[in-house]
Subunit: 225 residues, 2 copies
């Protein structure tokens, strides 16, 4: 019974890794679409959202079936609840990548044409995609070291967001209101995407509890936060 | 056993209603703080986030204990999973209200000083708060009629967001880049808050399944969406 549970939990974990990589790939492609004004690539990202939704619904449904059929307790239960929380974050990451792709598709000129913001937004997008890959590695290898690096790097995202706003609000900003608003929103989407990736990595430590059992109800301090 | 489960589920539902009303109150106060430049009120909203976090952690923990001790199945299980999803949305709503309060606190002049955007942002904030109250009523009275009105009103939020952007991007916008960016972000926070309120109302129909049982695993069409 318990062995069957862990086989199914391992399958869930594999799918969480797949979803995390899909989210990262969507955001990488959305940023390239924005940077290169590649409308075809933007369309690919926008279409991928359906795949993310399908994976979300399937994985969530399997979590619920696992709860119903196996009635897990203690660390096993916490692992399934963590998977439920993680899929919600991953769905949202797909939506945020789609928002960036939509701006790439709709806006011409887009904010990436402003020389001042291009390196800042490019760095933020790189970090966002890297965060997704790091979160995937944390889940896949149960390697929480990568998780702490992730939280460190999250400070860089915050600093970049502040730097972006300094540029947009400077007296010599010459690209008008629309490009400033778009750049601010894109920065916001990258920042939120990174936050969700950190949250996914944080959930990963509960997925590992079957190897490091803890009594349920015990409030543990965050290893990642 | 089953009766004890429903007593505990009813307690959870009461707390979800409380959290939903707290989120709505936070957003109402944040909007007033912004509108009236009331720094003391902004500080109240910012401080309330801790209360929301405490309620979130407590309610989520009780959902997990309910799963562990009662091992619910079918509609009962779906109700607990819905409560888990709802608390995540409510926590986020508290954060969004706090974002608005932070802008009220930091920014002077703030975007509400621009005559063109004031009515649009005021209407969006009113809808956001109203959505939270509607969601609370849906959960409290299991009244899904209010839920459908909510989805209808969600279209108005989208229309207001588009109207806001038209104003900000118009040639005669004379309040500069910073106020435009702030207005766009505030509009985004209201919109996200409203989205989460609709999501909370959507979860409410699963909370009612103990009165309208359905086999677990059955994919039902959304009554609200």
């Amino acid at each position: 019974m318990r062995a069957a549970f862990h086989v199914q939990l391992d399958e869930l974990i594999i799918d969480l890794v797949r979803m995390t990589r899909l989210a990262g790939q969507m955001m990488t492609n959305a940023a390239i679409a924005l940077h290169q004004r590649d409308l075809a690539l933007a369309a690919v990202v926008i279409a991928k959202r359906d795949q993310m939704y399908a994976m979300h619904d399937d994985t969530e449904q399997r979590c619920i079936i696992l709860l119903a059929r196996r009635a897990p307790v203690a660390g096993d239960l916490r692992a399934v609840v963590a998977a439920l929380r993680a899929v919600a974050h991953l769905k949202r990451m797909g939506n945020l990548a789609r928002h960036v792709a939509l701006i790439a598709q709709i806006k011409n000129p887009n904010p990436m044409t402003a020389d001042e913001v291009r390196p800042v937004l490019a760095r933020m997008s790189l970090l966002a995609s890297q965060f997704a890959e790091d979160a995937a590695i944390v889940i896949e290898r149960q390697d929480f070291g990568s998780g702490s690096q992730l939280v460190e790097a999250d400070h860089e995202v915050d600093a970049l967001r502040r730097h972006l706003f300094d540029i947009l609000f400077a007296e010599d900003w010459s690209h008008g209101v629309e490009q400033a608003v778009d750049a601010a929103l894109i920065g916001r989407y990258y920042e939120r995407f990174a936050d969700h990736a950190v949250a996914v990595a944080t959930e990963a430590r509960y997925l590992a509890t079957r190897r490091m059992p803890e009594p349920y109800g015990l409030k543990t301090g965050g290893r990642l936060r």
